[in-house]
Symmetry: C2
Subunit: 387 residues, 2 copies
């Protein structure tokens, strides 16, 4: 039987750039800002880092490079640096690999950085490494998720009004987050009247295209107190990959994502969580589209399948609710610089667990969850963090 690595890894520093249209910062500038912010937060010199992991989905699209860009940005020369890419779960999976390496005993202190620069060039064709196969089929991200959302509403009822509540909530939270790309409140009416991108998604149901970077410094938990008292422990890690062609599978349910269920099961098992809605105090989940957040409530076990619209309708995922979701404003407000997003979510949960989240602070938070979903809903990574 594998041994648990619960409580063996501590997060001792986090950093994050302002997310947005960062035309004045290069790929490496973004990494330098987030990385040095994390070093300063951990109060360590870069030399203390034994190894690093870089999460980036399409570095060349941002005129960056892979592992060598992190070496050049932070002058981490001669050290081990791995690039991890796992669709939109790139940032969280980079963190997961770094955490396992530290837990193995191979390294004492490691850096995880996530970055993406998406505004300089259009993603289609160039950005997607020569054209992504899905897009050759016309299956853009909004197209894929819209198909599943339509099927979901066909089966369980409801529609765009439920989606609008997610968008309003996340824009409300984002207005309180100085790192968010969009820091503005919107109304349900604005969401419902916005131009349609792919039915049922209008403009305010889709996360924007954004530049940004985030970083975290981790170490062996038994060393953490050398650096700070309010370190955060890794309680659970889970990753799951399903088919890249879900629509060819006759058993595919088309109303949620098996990858999220499998990844959360692995993470909950490691963390010893039996009743997530009661035990988890707050969550950053992957709201690439508003409906995805509703599906995530269900796939993560916060409520039953088909009950996600009630979950948001009852206000349970608002800042004042019993399980605040996306207190940062989510991908909807922060934007989604792909490799950066998962690490930015870790930054948010660590900031919240330390009680440093200012106007968007979730009260009495002890246990937080981070969730990324990538590809056509085929890749999910779940990380549980706690005090």
């Amino acid at each position: 039987m594998p041994e648990s690595i619960k409580d063996k890894i501590a997060i001792i520093g986090v950093g994050c750039t302002k997310f947005g249209d960062n035309f004045d910062q290069s790929f490496e500038d973004l990494l330098a800002e987030a990385g040095f912010a994390a070093f300063a937060d951990a109060n360590i010199a870069p030399e203390r880092v034994d190894a690093a992991w870089l999460g980036t989905f399409s570095p060349y699209a941002g005129n960056g490079k892979a592992s060598v860009s992190l070496a050049d940005a932070l002058r981490l020369y001669g050290k081990p640096i791995t690039r991890v890419e796992n669709y939109c779960a790139t940032g969280t999976d980079a963190f997961r690999n770094a955490a396992m390496a530290v837990a193995s005993g191979m390294y004492d202190v490691a850096l995880v950085a996530g970055v993406e620069k998406l505004k300089d060039r259009p993603m289609r064709g160039l950005g997607w490494e020569g054209g992504h196969p899905y897009q050759h089929d016309g299956l853009t991200a909004p197209g894929v998720f819209a198909m599943v959302a339509n099927r979901y509403f066909h089966r369980f009822g409801g529609g765009r009004e439920a989606l609008a509540k997610v968008s309003v909530k996340n824009h409300h939270n984002g207005a309180l987050n100085p790192k968010a790309h969009f820091q503005m409140e919107i109304s349900e009416e604005q969401v419902l009247k916005a131009p349609i991108v792919a039915w049922p998604f209008g403009l305010f149901d889709c996360c924007p295209t954004t530049d940004g970077a985030a970083a975290a410094v981790i170490c062996r938990a038994d060393m953490a107190r050398q650096f700070r008292d309010d370190y955060v422990l890794v309680k659970g890690l889970g990753l799951a990959v399903t088919s890249g062609r879900p629509w060819y599978d006759p058993a595919y349910e088309y109303v949620g994502f098996a990858a999220t269920r499998a990844a959360s099961e692995e993470a909950y098992r490691m963390a010893g969580i039996h009743d997530p809605v009661k035990e988890i105090d707050l969550a950053e989940v992957h709201d690439c589209f508003t409906w995805t957040e509703i599906s995530n409530y269900e796939d993560l076990g916060f409520c039953g399948k088909g009950e996600g619209a009630h979950f948001i309708g009852e206000g349970r995922s608002t800042l004042a609710g019993d399980l605040p979701v996306n207190p940062s404003g989510g991908l909807k407000s922060c934007g989604h610089p792909i490799g950066a997003s998962g690490v930015r979510m870790i930054y948010e949960i660590v900031t919240q667990l330390r009680g440093q989240a200012g106007a968007r602070q979730v009260r009495d938070s002890e246990l937080g969850l981070v969730h990324n979903l990538g590809g056509p809903g085929a890749v999910a990574c779940v990380i549980v963090l706690g005090r």
Copy 2:
């Protein structure tokens, strides 16, 4: 201090496709062939695999995908699969991350697969994810390595005749390897008379463009005997990244690769190796160009800086020498499907350590080394394997 993970991970199965112009196999076909060969070699069902790592540099260029392609090729649905990319050290770094994860206790059994399909589309522009920044500067791979080779010969003397000896040796070995792309002997005269690609490299100084995949099944060493008696242990792991812009660094020596020196130091420290040329019995090293192999002899500590031409000239790295290098035929004969190469080298060393390498068998081999070098010589990964 970090704890050593030496002898905590065992390789219990390996598989490899024929390397070559595999137009009749898709990206996923290649993964399926190598993966199921490794499962059969380990005598385990795919269900026994707890997690997987995929090494691939430019999957979309081969009309493949990232982690989801491995899930689809091997029906590894609902399991954790990470894609690692680290330039030409992609395959070895994927193995390194898998090994650390198993050593952490997180998983009992893991699969590592490396794959690249390079023949379908030209690499320039398309394959390099929208055009690689180096190529925008005119710095192709032959151009970068040729510059360093010229500087090396300027400083230490010698020239194309030393390079030809590497090519002749590796083609000799490749002619004995049924997996190699080119299975043919060549003469020094043929190498020296071949068309020049980038001085001092002629056609036979450059590795070819190739399709292929390779895979390895690893497990906790204390479980290995359940699967087979002749398992191979991971003795050392090292990875190092230097600057992606070495030519901007006034201290850059331009006669070798600091990344290889740093990665081998890390791996030797873990393996407890003090005198590599005496302790290591055979090595698979990164001969993307013939001169790179000469530099590797020096950077890996097989001989002093500037002595590499003597090392090959004295026949020490031939199959009958005291430290056979690239018994497989190297990248020169096998080709270099980027993400596959490092795992193919692991396949070769495991096959050799088990005594199953047929006509190219190195006698009395107990300890073998694998080495990849990537980017502009900026990324190196070294793995030491032993009985």
